[in-house]
Structures are given as C-alpha cells and as structure tokens.
C-alpha cells in the first residue's frame, strides 16, 4: 500500500486489487476515527477503496451516498470519470460498506442528507480521480520510456500524444497501483469538462422504468419471513398486554414478537402478517403524552413565546431586542408567523430486512443514516460495530426520515427473536402516525425602521422543538439546536442591528429532520416579513429587497428571477405576484409566483425559480430537483398538516395528510445561474424554502390579505 496526505482528515491510499487492477481509497487519519479508533489503517485498505479499476477496464466507484432520487448514482461517477478520462459507458457504481473512510469529509460522519451528496464529496472525488489519472499516466509513461507530461487520458485510455501510442486503464492499472499517489494532484479545469456541467442520462433510470429497480420493499433473501408492526398509538406509549394465541393459528403466522414501543406479527408472507395483526389482541399504555393535542401544543408555544426563557444566539450591531425598540426608531413593526408540523410521507413506507445470526447482523434497506444505524444496532445487539453490516437498496424517497433507525432496530430485534431473516414493513398508517415530524414553529419578528421604512434593526424570536436530537445528538444542547436557526444566523440582508433569540421547546411530539429543516419555517417568516415591510413602505417588493442586499450572488438571483418572470411588466387585473429570496444549503434561490384568487380558490398561473448553486454538475438533475421542491412547497403552503389528539397523530393516510396533486401543479420554470464560485450548493432541499413565502406574498399582492400561519387551508384557501 502507498499513501499520500491530501487533507487534514484523509490519507489517499493506493493498492493492487485482488486479481490485478488498481484500488484508490482514502483513509481517515487515526485521530479522526472516533468510535473506530482501534481499526488498523493498513488492514482495511482493500475495503476502503473508493475507486476500483479492473484489468477488464471497468471503473467502479464505491459510493457512500444513498440514491433517493437526487441522482447521486450518476453525478458522483461522472465526477470521477471526468477526472480520470474514463469511458463513461464503463463506469459503474457500488454502494460502500459503513466505514470511517466513507464519511462525509465536511462533517466526518457517514450519512446521506443535508443536501450534501454532491457538495460533500466533489472535492474528494475529483482529487482521487485526478490522483488516479496521474498514476495511470506515470505507469504508462514509465512502461513506454516517455515523459509523463506528453501523455493524457481519454475514453479509458492513456495516450502518448507524440506517438499516438495508447494503453487501456486495465492494462496499466496494476503498475499504477504500485506508485505513490501524488501529494497534490491537479484536477482538470472546468473549461476541459466533457461530462460535468451537462445533462447525463441517469444510470439507474432504466430499472425504474420497467419495474426491475429494487427498493427496500422489493428486496428479499432466501428463507426470509415477513413482519407487520403495530406501535403504541400514543407517542411515548408501550404495549400493556398482548395475547399471542389470538393469532398464532392464523394462516402463515410464525410468531408474535414485542418490539420497543409495540408488537410485531411475523408470518410467511407480508399479507398474512398484516391480516393477522388486525386480529391480534393487544392493549397499550398511553404513557406520559396521553393528553398531547394540537391545542395543548399551541398553548405551550404561546406560553414560550410570551414568557419563556430565551437564549440569545445572534447579536450584530446594537442587537436591540424587539421589546427595547419602542421609541428608538421612526417606526417599529412586529408580526408573528407560524409553521405547521409536517410528515415525510415518503411514497415507500418505512421497511427494512435484517438477519441476525451468532456472527453478527446484516441489514438491507432504504437507508440514509449508515453510520448511526450501524452504531445503534451494535449497541442494541451488543455487537462490535464491524459485525454490523449495512446494505442499501434504492430509496423510495428519503427527505430525512431514513436517517433514523427505529424501523431498522425493529427488523433486527424481530430477526433475532425468530432466528430468520425478516423484512419489517410498516403500513402507511404506521408510517404516518409514527413519523418524526418537521417541528412546528412560532416566531415573532420585530423591526425598527428608518423614515423611509427600511429596517435598520431586526429582532427575531423563534420557538421550536429540536430537529437534530435523534440524528446528530452531539450538536444539540439543553437550550440550543443549530438546525432550528438555519437561515437566521447568516442572512444577506444588510441590517445593522440584528438579534436572534431562541427557545428550544420540549414537547411530547416526536420531531426530527425533514427536507428544508430550519430554513423552511424561518425563511417563511423572514421573507413574509420583508414583504410586509416593503408594502408598508409602498415600495416594490423586489426593489425593496434589492436595496437591502449587497451580495453579488444574491442580487444576480433576484435580478434574474425578476427578469425571467416579467416582474417589471404590470400584472393583469386581479393577478398578484409574490417574490422571495434566500440562501439555503449554500445555494442562492429566488421564486416568483403569479396567481389570482376567487372565492378562496387560488389559481396559480406560473412559477419562476432561479438558483445559483455555484456549479451545477448536472443541470437537468438540479432542475428536476428544484421543480420537485417547488411542488413539495405547494403542499406545504396549502395543504400538508400534522395534528395531534389524545397523544396520537390524527392523520393516518393521504386522505388526511394531503400533498400536492398533478392538477394543482402549474407550469414551473427553473433557471440556473452558474456563478462558478468555489462554494458549491445543494439542490435537494432548497426548492420549497422560497416557494412557500412567495405564495403567501403573491396572495397578499392579489387580495390584500396577509396570511401568517400555515397551511393556507386553515384559512379556507385551496388551489383550484
């Protein structure tokens, strides 16, 4: 094995592959290993490879990232192929095992989320690709006795320019593997890109078009049995009693197994397990949250906003609080905004296959949280982490839900109990009523204005339950959760005095990460409020925002959305246009929504969106993602709402928890402004962030009515 240090965190490693060929990998420096500190860096080299070049010229990228629709099975191999000069038709992707080497270098943790599949790995992959290219060239040049700088790679070959001589990657891979990786490999400049920056056909798409794609629900292993589960209807409750004999003689039933907050019926087929579960005699103890309801939560939020303890998390300038503003400014304006609880409602319900044996545990499923899952299973089953193997299928949507481990632990416990591989599948009702929800928030924004009505001071109070508690506990303290503050700590609006106060609310409602995390509710509040200030100042909401911004990328996004949406042209009578801008997940985004309202029926005529994500490695995938995020946002703005009663989630299926339909989706135009900056942004989560306030702002423009709480269905509005 040879290695070179490429970053503070990683060694780059190279080794000869079993059967010839070349492996390029990376290994965390020992001090970064954390829970895996005892593992030898040397012994896992063949396992921690990111790139395998086989003697038959196939280039394989081993990806730590899960495919949940964000196109990562295409874009990451494209980064690699680009740097290598590989033949795109001979690049394959495999999912990695769970090991420190595959951690996201930015966060030092292995997971798929936070809009980082591409942004978190781009630099690492292009560095490894460039390194492998230089090694392949060096090996070929040495074999030919020519200078390396006279050679280049193209279509999977090293080519000696003066003589035209060439070798395939496979032919020189083994020699290349014996070379010390260059300490500072040179990635290709963007001007030389052939694959990146252009739309590629997504590699996993054909399987998604003829039914052959394998999602978690479709996965099977020989000898596998099936489990249907019923969890305590009340959040935080547990099984009080159950009668196995009530179902054990039903067709196919194998066993009834208690799980941490419920019960599983195991049968030869899933349908049998599901049917038997309905007949199972089981009672639950509702536990500590039996009185939880939307009303009790509303009262809790209100009490916190009006009289709770505050942690001041941001101060700029004089950092005047809302209460202190009175009398100090030409005018003071204050408003409250409310965002609702949301469910992930992935189309594929939670499911996982597990096989626990004496030797360890293997799971297969649609999973985002590789490392958390491995450590949780290890702790639950009292196994060393390396005895827990996490295998990933395709994900039928993720949106953050599959970072959690509850359903995986269930599969492992049931498998251990019955001594067989088991697939646990949640019904839609279990999935919706035992989700971990995007927390509702209550916010108050107060601004001190100058004579022209421009804010010179802004104070923002946020009440929110935790987002990161279950997925990244180290970041959460007794009174703070950084994810709840996203979008408020780093605003681009030039306001001299700024202050943010936070109250981390403890509730009985389970809450966690969901597409847009803190940005969603916070930017709804900020962009609604800025719009209110603009109208109050009788200013054009686009120009008003412009006047508060200096950041070039922000201005470019805003100007482009105004231009593309025809903002400056007078809207027809009765038609309102709403605009919103922010930076979220390192992408600048602006939306313009054009709509009209009659009898509470909202007709959306057109939506225009502009993003600047730095560099769009695959513009079509980025656009699809933003279109989809915009549609997601329509559901959030108008319909989606989780409520609670008697400790339980009220909504149980898509009739109660509504998402946007085809007929509600207007034409959506997405434009990408590539600022070509080094800060590449994500596109997976940002789409809904500005859409939601742009809708509320457009409704105000059309009707003069300002809605400050979501969803708009609360106010009788619907898309027609």
């Amino acid at each position: 094995m040879n290695d070179a240090i490429i970053s503070r965190r990683f060694f780059l490693t190279a080794a000869v592959a079993a059967g010839g060929g070349m492996l390029i990998g990376s290994t965390l420096r020992p001090e970064m290993l954390g829970a895996f500190a005892t593992r030898s860096r040397v012994s896992d080299v063949p396992l921690n490879a990111w790139i395998r070049i086989s003697p038959d010229d196939v280039v394989t990228l081993i990806s730590s990232q899960s495919e949940m629709g964000q196109g990562v099975m295409t874009t990451l191999p494209a980064v690699l192929a680009e740097e290598l000069g590989a033949d795109w038709s001979r690049v394959k992707i495999e999912f990695s095992p769970t090991m420190p080497a595959y951690r996201n270098p930015r966060i030092n943790w292995q997971f798929t989320g936070n809009s980082e599949s591409t942004t978190g790995f781009f630099e690492l992959l292009r560095t490894m690709g460039a390194s492998a290219r230089e090694m392949l060239i060096a090996a070929a040049a040495s074999r030919w006795g020519v200078k390396a700088d006279e050679c280049f790679t193209e279509n999977g070959k090293v080519i000696h320019k003066p003589s035209g001589r060439s070798s395939t990657f496979g032919e020189v891979a083994e020699d290349a593997a014996k070379i010390v990786p260059p300490a500072q490999p040179k990635p290709k400049p963007e001007s030389e890109w052939k694959l990146l920056g252009k739309p590629l056909r997504r590699v996993e798409l054909p399987a998604k078009l003829n039914g052959s794609a394998v999602f978690g629900l479709d996965f099977s292993v020989p000898g596998m049995v099936h489990a249907a589960v019923k969890q305590s209807p009340a959040h935080g409750g547990a099984v009080a009693s159950f009668d196995k004999s009530s179902v054990i003689n039903l067709p196919g039933v194998i066993d009834v197994v208690p799980i941490p907050n419920g019960i599983a019926v195991v049968a030869k087929q899933y349908w049998q397990a599901r049917q038997a579960l309905q007949s199972l005699k089981v009672t639950f103890d509702d536990g500590p949250n039996a009185n939880l309801s939307t009303e009790s939560l509303n009262a809790q939020y209100r009490a916190a906003l009006d009289g709770g303890a505050w942690k001041t998390v941001k101060t700029e300038g004089r950092a005047v609080s809302g209460e202190e503003m009175t009398g100090k400014f030409a005018a003071v304006v204050s408003q409250e905004y409310e965002s609702q609880f949301l469910a992930h409602a992935t189309m594929e319900p939670m499911n996982c296959t597990a096989h626990v044996t004496e030797d360890g545990c293997a799971v297969w499923g649609p999973l985002q949280g590789n490392e958390l899952t491995q450590l949780t299973l290890a702790a639950t089953l009292k196994l060393p982490p390396e005895k827990v193997t996490i295998n990933r299928t395709l994900l039928g949507g993720g949106f953050g839900r599959r970072l959690l481990t509850d359903f995986v632990v269930q599969a492992a416990l049931v498998s251990r109990a019955v001594g067989k591989p088991v697939k646990v599948v949640w019904s839609r009702e279990e999935d919706m009523q035992h989700d971990v929800y995007r927390p509702a928030t209550l916010q108050r924004v107060t601004a001190g204005l100058d004579k022209a009505g421009r804010p010179t001071a802004m104070a923002h109070k946020v009440v929110s339950p935790s987002i990161l508690q279950y997925v990244f506990a180290p970041a959460v303290t007794e009174d703070n959760d950084p994810s709840c503050l996203e979008g408020l700590m780093e605003t681009h609006y030039e306001i001299p005095d700024q202050r943010v106060d936070f109250h981390l609310l403890k509730t009985g409602a389970p809450t966690s990460v969901l597409r847009t995390t803190g940005y969603g509710p916070n930017i709804f509040a900020v962009e609604s409020f800025i719009d209110e200030l603009a109208h109050r100042a009788k200013a054009d909401p686009y120009q008003f925002r412009r006047g508060l911004l200096k950041d070039e990328r922000a201005l470019k996004a805003l100007d482009t959305v105004a231009e593309k949406s025809g903002w400056k042209k007078r809207a027809p009578k009765g038609v309102g246009r709403g605009i919103a801008y922010t930076e979220a997940f390192r992408t600048h985004i602006a939306h313009v929504v054009e709509l009209s309202v009659a009898n509470n029926l909202v007709k959306i005529h057109r939506i225009t969106c502009v993003i600047d994500c730095g560099v769009a490695l695959d513009p079509e995938i980025c656009k699809n993602s933003i279109e989809g995020g915009t549609v997601w946002g329509l559901g959030v703005a108008f319909k989606s709402n989780i409520t609670f009663k008697n400790g339980r989630t009220v909504e149980s299926n898509f009739n109660g928890y509504e998402i946007a339909h085809m007929f509600e989706t207007p034409p959506i135009e997405v434009y990408i402004v590539n600022s070509n900056t080094k800060g590449m942004g994500g596109t997976g989560e940002v789409g809904p962030v500005t859409l939601v306030p742009a809708v509320a702002n457009a409704i105000f423009a059309a009707t003069g009515k300002r809605y400050r709480s979501l969803p708009l269905s609360k106010h009788g509005l619907r898309i027609g």
Binding site: R201, L209, G211, P349, R428, N653, I659, P667
Partner: protein
C-alpha cells in the same frame, strides 16, 4: 384458498390464493412481480396501478378474485426493453427522481393514451391526479405524456 385463472403480462396462469387477497400482494408475493408498489393500501396514491382488461385499477384494493378470467398488465409487461412509448418518453424527459411511484404513474399514463391518443393538459390532470408523487415530478410527467403521444403517433400506435 381458491384456484383463479387469469392472464398476466401475456401469460395464462392458474394460481391458488385467498380470493380476498389484494391483487397487489398476489403480484408481489406469489408471482414475484414487484414493479407495482404498496403506497397507501386505500386507493389514495396510485403506486399500485396495473391494467385489468385495459382499465387502470388500484391493485391494493382489488381482490384477486376480481381478476378471474381477465387480463392483467403490470409495469413489467409494458415492455422489458423500454420500447413502449410511455417508457421512451419517460426516459427522454428523465422523469423519475426516487422512482417509487413511477410504475403506477406510467401505467395510468399508458391507459390514458389508449383512450385518448392526444390528450390535453386537462385530460392529463383528470387522468393523473390520483397518482401521487412525493418527489414532485408532475411537470415532467405532463411533458412526458405529451411526448409519448407524439412517439405513439409516429410509430402508428402501440407496439
């Protein structure tokens, strides 16, 4: 258990099943055809749509007994080689994201095109609004249906 005769993707079969068992779970569990998906179990989301004698039906609420003597087509039967106009258009426009709902979307779309060779946007809204997509690919689905209509017209109808 009851013997039920039906034709699935062109193949005549006699299967043994509980007559009340939903067609979806017979396809997935007894026949290994996992293209049709479970999404809601209540005919609310459309992930399970297959064709029964040419109609787009929700297989999650359709007892298998109702398929007795009838013809079922699933996504696997649309074509394996992606030659059906709907598959071609879905590929060309790169419709799917996660892809889980797409078999149901495509089966609904194929049925619509059988009934209306050149559907309008309103026809598409009517036919497709029972198929949910959490990734929000509706704008692309709409484009792809128009494109599939063009492809089918050029090819002189379905292959």
């Amino acid at each position: 258990m009851k013997q039920i005769s039906l034709t699935i993707n062109g193949k005549a079969l006699v299967i043994e099943a509980e007559p009340e068992k939903p067609l979806l779970w017979v396809l997935r569990e007894d026949l290994g055809l996992t293209g049709a998906k479970y999404g809601c179990g209540m005919a609310l989301c459309g992930c399970c749509v297959v064709h029964l004698n040419g109609d787009a039906i929700r297989s999650c609420v359709t007892p298998v007994a109702r398929a007795e003597g009838k013809t079922v087509i699933t996504i696997e039967g649309l074509s394996r080689d992606l030659s059906h106009p709907v598959q071609q258009a879905w590929q060309e426009i790169q419709v799917p994201q996660c892809g889980y709902c797409q078999p149901g979307q495509m089966m609904s779309a194929a049925c619509l095109l059988e009934q209306k060779s050149s559907p309008t946007d309103d026809d598409i809204d009517d036919a497709m609004s029972g198929n949910l997509c959490r990734c929000g690919t509706y704008p692309r689905i709409r484009r792809a249906i128009h494109r599939a209509a063009e492809i089918a017209a050029t090819q002189g109808g379905r292959k």
